[in-house]
């Protein structure tokens, strides 16, 4: 399979499909994410932490959809989180993996191995998992309404994306407090 989908194109589709889901963004997905909302959590400085933070958000706000936009390299760093997600089984958690096979931010070095993400997720206990490599398949997979936890992995070209200016300039202290305040307001409203 030769992935033709650029990371930026995949992320455009994900962003367009996410509805009112809270997005947890990291790595390349963060670097090209087109539009940030106040409830989007942008993770820098804690590679591998996106899925666990998303799990906490999903358990803390079970009435909200939570989409974790992970990278393959970052998920490999904390692969055991699949077990925690499956065990807690938040029904509204979608775990998206941008599988471009490289550590794009650090210069495009290859990620070790080429895991079968759907097999890993299903073996860990996710309720469903899909791998896709073109835009239509990705769109279709994201629109599935079955209960989570779900995984959608998208194979992308291993070219280093053109990151948006300032995409990684995130103040963690401000980030966490803004998302927390936004969620508090939305739960009261």
């Amino acid at each position: 399979m030769t992935p033709a989908l650029a990371v930026a194109d995949a992320v455009e589709i994900i962003a367009a499909e996410r509805g009112d889901a809270i997005a947890v963004l990291t790595m390349s997905g963060l670097g090209v994410w087109p539009e940030h909302r106040p409830e989007d959590f942008r993770l820098v400085g804690l590679m591998g932490g996106a899925a666990s933070i998303g799990l906490g958000l999903a358990l803390g706000r079970p009435e909200r959809d939570v989409w974790v936009i992970d990278g393959d390299g970052s998920l490999l760093m904390q692969l055991g989180v699949l077990g925690a997600v499956a065990d807690a089984a938040p029904r509204r958690l979608l775990h998206v993996v941008i599988a471009n096979g490289v550590y794009a931010i650090s210069g495009g070095q290859a990620v070790p191995g080429s895991p079968s993400w759907d097999a890993l997720a299903l073996a860990a206990g996710y309720r469903s998992a899909t791998v896709c490599s073109d835009g239509d398949a990705l769109r279709e997979a994201l629109r599935v309404m079955s209960p989570g936890p779900r995984m959608v992995a998208v194979h992308c070209a291993d070219r280093r994306p053109e990151f948006r200016a300032g995409a990684f300039e995130v103040d963690p202290l401000e980030e966490a407090r803004r998302v927390q305040a936004t969620l508090q307001v939305s739960s009261v409203a």
Binding site: G45, L46, G49, I53, G56, L59, A84
Partner: protein, 170 residues
Amino acid sequence: MSAAVASVPAETVLMAFAELKITHVVTVPDTNQRTVLAAVADDSRWPTVRAATEDDVAGICLGLWIAGRRPVAVIQQLGLFAAANALRAVAHDYAAPLPILAGLYGREVDRDVTASRRSAVRLCIPLLDALEIPWSLVEGPEDADGISEGLAAAFDRGGVSVVLLGAPTS
């Protein structure tokens, strides 16, 4: 720091959780806290979130806190070594409240923690000091108030605080 250590009842720990309005217990199991984990499992006040590594415990707790909850981490002190980067981030980058109850696995009863023959015991406090994470040591029922106080420090100050349990809970 006395070398004499004694059990703290699990009920004392649960009372501290109630006092601090803890909403979730996030854990990688700990030998010293078997009775605490068993009691929590039988108590509907605290959903238990099981993780495979302590890094994930830190991330899950961060997510829960952002979602407006008040989690506590129940782990073994070896996990503090394993999760050093995650603890650094939560403690300093996010300054998010993360109270941790950590059993001191391998702590010898015949010597002070700082003189332990076991590096996992002897180096634990220096590790926390290096990470600028406040800690307290609970060595028996006479220190029991230190559990609530030590865990509360995370919420009061923002950031990580660790209560080290020197003996298995009863």
